[in-house]
């Protein structure tokens, strides 16, 4: 589904990703772990198409379609979803208005029926209940005055509504208490399916107790320096990142 080859990218002259490779097949969950500053968010942003990031070489394809030349909205329409490490406030635009505009755009592009207003409201309320946000959050400004945990749940809510092929979650667990972590994990687990894949970026092993990955990769100095199964996360938890960086 996702194929990233030898990706080198950076921002403002600074090279951050230095030849990154990763292949994700449909149905799989990959965890990317690594120390602060390793380039995890950079990878998410480059795949999401954030302006300002310069790709100097390499490729990233979604089901054979080159992502790197696309506008961010076109990637979303291809089925990429990026859950932000720091979701942004959009004051004055209600969650409902924002979600509706997003759903209309993405569903139309993917050839799905755009739900009627009534159906849309029903779906939105269901998703809201599933991430355990009170219904009045749909009326509030996007992330406006939301706590850190509420913002992350709101990201999962959006992901549920948009039904992406590839979900990139950038430290969705950071700043969450254990209850919120479980809610987020349940949201992700409920969406696992044979034709959808997840890349879960995290700094801590804790999230992976709830979202059990098929593969764990360690990102350090802009590349994947080690890959393994779920047990690698436990090893990292125990020994820290030092031993791997040393090895790389």
């Amino acid at each position: 589904m996702l194929k990233v080859e030898n990706l080198c990218a950076g921002i403002e002259e600074k090279t951050i990703l230095q030849g990154l490779n990763i292949t994700v097949n449909p149905g799989e969950v990959h965890a990317i772990m690594g120390p602060n500053g390793a380039g995890k968010s950079t990878l998410s942003y480059v795949l999401g198409g954030r302006p300002g990031y310069e790709v100097s070489s390499g490729s990233a394809e979604l089901d054979g379609v080159d992502l790197l030349d696309m506008e961010p909205e076109d990637r979303a329409k291809e089925g990429v979803f990026l859950a932000f490490q720091y979701p942004v406030e959009v004051p004055g635009v209600s969650n409902m208005e924002f979600l509706k505009a997003a759903v209309e755009s993405v569903y139309a592009a993917r050839g799905w029926d755009v739900p009627s207003t009534v159906d849309f409201m029903k779906l939105a309320r269901e998703a809201c209940a599933q991430v355990q946000l009170p219904l009045d959050f749909l009326k509030r400004g996007v992330n406006e005055g939301f706590s850190g945990g509420e913002r992350k749940r709101n990201e999962i809510l959006q992901m549920m509504m948009l039904k992406p092929k590839l979900c990139l979650l950038d430290e969705t667990d950071s700043g969450l208490d254990i209850d919120a972590l479980q809610v987020v994990a349940e949201g992700v687990n409920s969406m696992r399916s044979p034709d959808r894949a997840f890349v879960v970026v995290t700094h801590y092993q804790r999230l992976l107790d709830y979202i059990v990955p098929d593969f764990v990769h360690v990102l350090a100095d802009g590349k994947i320096v080690k890959s393994g199964g779920a047990e690698l996360a436990l090893e990292l938890e125990e020994k820290g990142y030092g031993w791997i960086e040393g090895a790389a």
Binding site: G48, G49, R50, P51, E71, P72, E73, R75, A76, K77, V80, F81, L82, F84, P87, V88, E89, V90, P91, G92, V93, E97, F98, A101, A102, S105, V106, A109, G141, Q158, L162
Partner: protein
């Protein structure tokens, strides 16, 4: 150039006959003519007009509004869904009793031309009296061409369940001077919508004056809405005069307009009063919008909060001037002014200036004005959800202004306003 405007307007005033032939206000008209003759016309050298360009107006030969276009009247006076208001309608400057609601014991509207002796006394007492001294050429012009205005009275103690809509529409070129007097009795509560609109492409010019008098312990929600287009010049003066322990809420919307200007005076004359003003002003294309707010705190123990949002896109010009005067006796005043602006193109202009003048020593005041651009991170966030860059920009701009609409208790009116707002944000060329 200014002479063209001034001479033609003066000539109009000298031969002016009010549409209903009413004579008892001719002294007011004479006074207006004299004041207009003596007034300096707007120019860049005059502080209050510095940021506007009046050239297009000043080179015009002013004529009176001609016969109205009935098809446009019907279109522009369509009811706002769900608003369910008492309605009083002006067409091209003249009050239209046949388009207006019946009145009842709690609220009455009287055309100046049909006022009986007692009502004439009320009107004479108020008319022009609330407007503070100072150079006001457009008020003088409105006085000199004073036509059939309306006196709206809300009875003391009344708690109006329905809002009152004073709708003024323009369907033809020329000058109109819609005139309003609003008297909110002691202890009464009311929502009054003062709304100005003009058919697209009609080169209309308004010099509109409204005076609102709040009795002791009265509460008025004043919606002051001027929806402009490229051809409409609307210059308005609105004065609210607050009695003791009164509460005044203003929701001011100025969109578009060849010139769309409001001089808004809030004259706090009764202690224990509260004033809250929310406003939005938006210009695109070559439009000019302007809000000059002046809050006069003359008495002790009052507070006021002012929240404004402005936006200039394309080659638009937006001006906000927010003056808060705290007079010597106005101890314990608490005044907070916040004004945030979006400048969306290099060709647009935005001037936002708060002015605090404080002559009392025991007061709390704060003001802030900012001018910024749309946040790139927010745009990216929205695009990752499938919204085009243009849609993301439009939605962000809408959200910025929507904060003012969300403050309005009258939701049907806020909904009605979202349509022109959406159109305003769509398809901008800010290159």
């Amino acid at each position: 150039m200014a002479e063209q405007f001034k001479d033609s307007a003066s000539a109009l005033a000298s031969t002016f006959v009010p549409s209903k032939g009413e004579q008892w206000l001719s002294a007011q008209r004479k006074q207006g003519s004299a004041a207009f003759s003596g007034a300096a016309m707007p120019s860049r050298r005059i502080e209050q007009f510095k940021y506007n360009n009046f050239n297009d107006l000043l080179k015009q030969n002013i004529s009176l509004a001609g016969a109205s276009d009935q098809a446009l009247v019907a279109e522009l006076t369509a009811e706002i869904p769900g608003l369910n208001a008492h309605r009083f309608v002006f067409v091209d400057g003249v009050f239209q009793p046949e388009l207006s609601s019946a009145t009842d014991a709690d609220v009455s509207a009287t055309a100046f031309s049909t006022a009986d002796d007692a009502q004439q006394a009320v009107i004479s007492d108020l008319l022009g009296k609330l407007v503070p001294e100072g150079d006001r050429p457009f008020v003088a012009l409105a006085d000199s061409l004073l036509d059939d205005g309306v006196l709206l009275e809300v009875a003391a103690g009344a708690d109006l369940q329905k809002p009152v809509q004073l709708l003024s529409v323009r369907t033809t070129t020329g000058v109109a001077t819609p005139r309003l007097l609003v008297k909110i009795g002691d202890g009464a509560r009311a929502s009054v919508i003062e709304q100005y609109q003009c058919a697209d492409g009609v080169q209309a010019f308004d010099s509109a004056v409204s005076e609102l008098d709040l009795g002791a312990n009265a509460e008025l929600h004043h919606y002051r809405i001027a929806l402009g287009n490229d051809s409409y010049t609307h210059i308005g003066t609105s004065v609210a005069h607050q009695g003791r322990d009164s509460r005044y809420r203003a929701y001011v919307i100025n969109t578009g307009g060849a010139i769309n200007r409001l001089d808004h005076v809030v004259d706090v004359r009764g202690s224990g009063s509260n004033s809250q003003m929310f406003g939005a002003y938006l210009a695109r294309a070559k439009q000019q919008v302007d809000i000059h707010l002046c809050v006069e705190h003359a008495v002790p123990n009052c507070d006021s909060q002012e929240t404004y949002r402005g936006m200039a896109a394309e080659s638009g010009k937006a001006v906000f001037n927010g003056r808060i005067q705290i007079h010597k006796d106005a101890q314990k005043t608490d005044a907070q002014l916040s004004c945030r602006n979006l400048l969306l193109s290099n060709k647009a202009e935005l001037n936002a200036k708060p002015e605090l003048e404080i002559y009392a020593d025991d007061v709390k005041c704060a003001h802030g004005a900012t001018v910024g651009q749309l946040d790139p991170e927010s745009i990216f966030y929205m695009r990752t959800r499938g919204l085009s860059e243009e849609k993301a920009r439009a939605l962000l701009s809408y959200g910025f202004i929507n904060e003012v609409l969300l403050a309005m208790p009258l939701e049907p009116l806020a909904d009605f306003l979202r349509t022109p707002m959406d159109a305003f944000f769509a398809n901008q060329d800010n290159s």
